[in-house]
């Protein structure tokens, strides 16, 4: 059985738009022999039971997240496909620490650069998603990812990179000026706003903040790399490790994309020239010389020279479209959202690779069950309450079936509405319970 690696599709001339996926692709291309794996640009997290990409499929076994994939590949090949086997104890510790460092700090910078900076999001990231996603995901997923990125970076207080919010503020001030009649109309120009202009106007400290953030991220890595070929290499000709794959994932997304507002790339080139050169070198080794295009992923014949073993993703099925729409709907419904959350908690605890003791497994599952019971109770209360209300209205004659056609229509409409709700909720719950 050939292993299949499902990832977010290519963008910005990189094989994936997501840093974790890039790391997984780099790891597979370095560790696995050619022909033993295939790369599928699924771009739909719902294919994997865990709802996450990257996901490695081995027959009926699914493994998601970069670290789990690395562990799985090591076990699968009895320690043969393991880039970290030559590391000593210090190397292992460094690998763990720097992976955590790159994942936490790098993700925030990528969020700011690709999603929160509105010029980049609307000019580059959003169109990139549009070309690699299928209907209806192209309408559902990008706003979700955008929102998640904003939530992750909220605490930094850099929302002024979000030009849309700034623009609203500016227009308010502008129209206030016009309304007060202080500014003659022909003197009002509407210049195109650029980020640097807005930053200059709102707060110089944003510049400092971004500068500090990029410095905190790049400088330790630059110092760690030094003149070495790879981050953890002891001598010049050493082999790459899994840390290099993680670093490549995050750094290439910082360096390679041609963005409208390339502050992250500029910072990387000025602050850490060695790191930029290293990223370019490792990228060519893992992903090949030629830039990756979206077409490569969907029709591998068109790129015979590609180093990556692309395989055409299967067309999205009607059932998958249906379940995506249903999921989105359910996530937008207050009570159902909570039920889903508890379900996912339980699934996490009961997954076979969870090394919880039996007792702990039970405790988590119990907590999830209790939470879910609460939810069912509140759903039942709401439904019961509605039924009582309708019954009462019938009883006192506010709605009367025998009355004019108008009243009858209203009554049946209400009932059928409720039927629909109950039906969809029950459907969904049975799906969730599986």
């Amino acid at each position: 059985m050939v292993l299949q690696l499902h990832v977010w599709g290519p963008a910005f001339s990189l094989p994936s738009i997501d840093a974790q996926c890039l790391a997984a692709i780099a790891y597979c291309s370095l560790a696995l022999p050619k022909g033993s794996w295939e790369l599928v640009a699924t771009s739909d997290p719902s294919v994997s039971p865990t709802g996450e990409l990257p996901a490695l499929q081995d027959g009926s076994v699914w493994v998601s997240r970069f670290r789990n994939i690395v562990d799985y590949l090591r076990q699968y090949s009895d320690g043969e496909w393991d880039l970290d086997h030559q590391l000593d104890e210090t190397g292992r510790a460094d690998s763990i620490a720097f992976s955590s460092f790159i994942e936490s700090r790098g993700q925030i910078l990528l969020d700011l650069s690709l999603y929160v900076s509105s010029q980049n999001y609307y000019g580059n990231t959003s169109p990139a998603y549009g070309s690699l996603l299928q209907w209806p995901n192209q309408w559902i997923l990008p706003p979700k990812l955008h929102g998640a990125a904003k939530a992750r970076t909220e605490h930094l207080g850099l929302s002024s990179l979000d030009l849309q919010a700034m623009e609203e503020q500016r227009q308010r001030e502008h129209s206030a000026g016009v309304a007060a009649g202080r500014i003659p109309k022909n003197l009002i120009t509407r210049p195109r706003d650029t980020v640097s202009k807005l930053l200059g106007r709102t707060a110089q400290q944003n510049h400092f903040r971004l500068d500090a953030l990029t410095g905190e991220f790049f400088e330790p890595l630059e110092a760690m790399l030094g003149q070495k070929t790879y981050l953890l290499a002891a001598t010049g000709d050493d082999a790459p490790s899994s840390l290099d794959c993680i670093a490549l994932g995050y750094l290439s997304l910082a360096l390679v994309p041609e963005l409208t507002f390339p502050w992250l790339r500029d910072a990387m080139r000025t602050k850490s020239p060695l790191l930029a050169e290293y990223t370019e070198r490792v990228r060519q080794r893992c992903f090949g010389q030629a830039p990756v295009e979206v077409a490569h992923a969907f029709s591998p014949q068109s790129a015979p020279s590609s180093q990556l073993p692309w395989r055409t993703p299967s067309r999205i099925s009607v059932a998958a479209v249906g379940s995506t729409l249903l999921d989105t709907l359910a996530d937008a419904t207050p009570l159902l959202r909570n039920v889903r959350k508890y379900n996912s908690l339980k699934a996490g605890a009961q997954s076979p690779d969870a090394d919880l003791s039996g007792l702990e497994k039970n405790v988590v599952a119990q907590a999830a069950n209790n939470g879910k019971k609460d939810m069912y109770a509140s759903v039942a209360t709401v439904v019961g309450g509605l039924a009582l209300l309708v019954g009462y209205m019938f009883h006192i004659g506010m709605i009367s079936v025998k009355a004019q056609g108008h009243g009858e229509e209203e009554g049946t409409e209400e009932v059928s509405d409720m039927d629909f709700n109950a039906g969809s909720a029950a459907d969904f719950l049975s799906v969730g319970g599986l």
């Binding site: 865990t50 510790a93 460094d94 700090r105 206030a176 110092a223 760690m224 605890a349 702990e360 405790v363």
Partner: protein
């Protein structure tokens, strides 16, 4: 409709829009916010004739009097750091609502007497460096930030899960320490508990689509392993003669995880931590300071 509205349309010159807000109303709302309130005042309990620096942390009155460690990792980190660098201070039990920034800990310096300017936690290190001329440890070793991220993310996430989302632990520990002292009303308690758990859940869901307990604990296990090999046979991290900021950060978590007095019901992190005897000894050495 007020007469000014038509005037506004004429001066504007654009096609009149049905949705345009009449200028007088607009002018009224442009004036909002009418006032912006200054930062919160200090709590009334702050003694006016204070002699010592006051550090406001999550604690209870009895422990605070004896200078015992706080039960909040963030507070304990700074409490330990100030102790390690040799700054004298008094611990005052407090909560988030008392802080000008909305977060604990913060410090009210003894000097100069007349100011009531407080020092929030992210400026505490700078203040301490000015006070006692200790070194800024981040600059000394490239590994500092990388290993600190293990504590700030991997161990913190596992801690958040263990303390807030494990139902038994939450009732036995978090509810007793954070919720019960603030009120006696059971309704408010229930609401507060819910908010705390929800906040922890949201924090964990920021970085992943679902909460994978096994992954959280696996990450914590790796993090302890890395910290253990970083410490090695040394007394303190980075082979320093005296404990510093990094030791304080590690101690803040290892002490609370190993503290039997907190009454954990399930303590998986302690099981993982006890596999590394040098980290356990490190915690015991530093506990001597308290």
């Amino acid at each position: 409709m007020p007469p000014q509205a038509s005037e506004g349309q004429q001066t504007d010159g654009n096609a009149p829009s049905f949705f345009r807000i009449p200028p007088p109303i607009k002018r009224l709302f442009d004036r909002f916010p009418l006032t912006t309130y200054p930062a919160n005042d200090l709590p009334q309990r702050v003694p006016s004739g204070r002699e010592d620096n006051q550090l406001f942390v999550f604690s209870d009155a009895a422990s605070a009097r004896r200078g015992r460690p706080s039960f909040n990792p963030q507070c304990l980190k700074w409490q330990a750091y100030l102790k390690f660098v040799g700054i004298d201070f008094e611990v005052t039990p407090s909560n988030n609502h008392a802080s000008p920034t909305g977060a604990l800990p913060f410090l009210l310096p003894a000097l100069p007497i007349d100011t009531s300017a407080t020092i929030p936690s992210h400026k505490l290190q700078k203040w301490a460096i000015e006070q006692v001329r200790c070194e800024e440890e981040q600059q000394l070793n490239v590994r500092f930030e990388a290993y600190a991220s293990l504590l700030d993310h991997r161990i913190r996430n596992a801690w958040l899960y263990m303390l807030y989302l494990d139902e038994d632990n939450f009732q036995a520990v978090a509810q007793r320490l954070y919720v019960n002292p603030s009120t006696t009303s059971s309704v408010v308690r229930a609401a507060l508990s819910f908010q705390l758990q929800q906040a922890a859940r949201d924090e964990l869901l920021k970085t992943s689509t679902y909460i994978d307990v096994a992954a959280l604990e696996g990450d914590a296990q790796n993090a302890f392993e890395a910290l253990s090999s970083l410490l090695g046979e040394d007394e303190h991290f980075f082979s320093r003669p005296n404990p510093g900021l990094f030791d304080a950060t590690v101690f803040a978590y290892t002490h609370l995880i190993l503290d039997e007095g907190l009454g954990w019901k399930h303590n998986r992190l302690a099981q993982l931590l006890r596999q590394h005897s040098n980290l356990v000894q490190h915690r015991e050495r530093l506990l001597q300071f308290f």
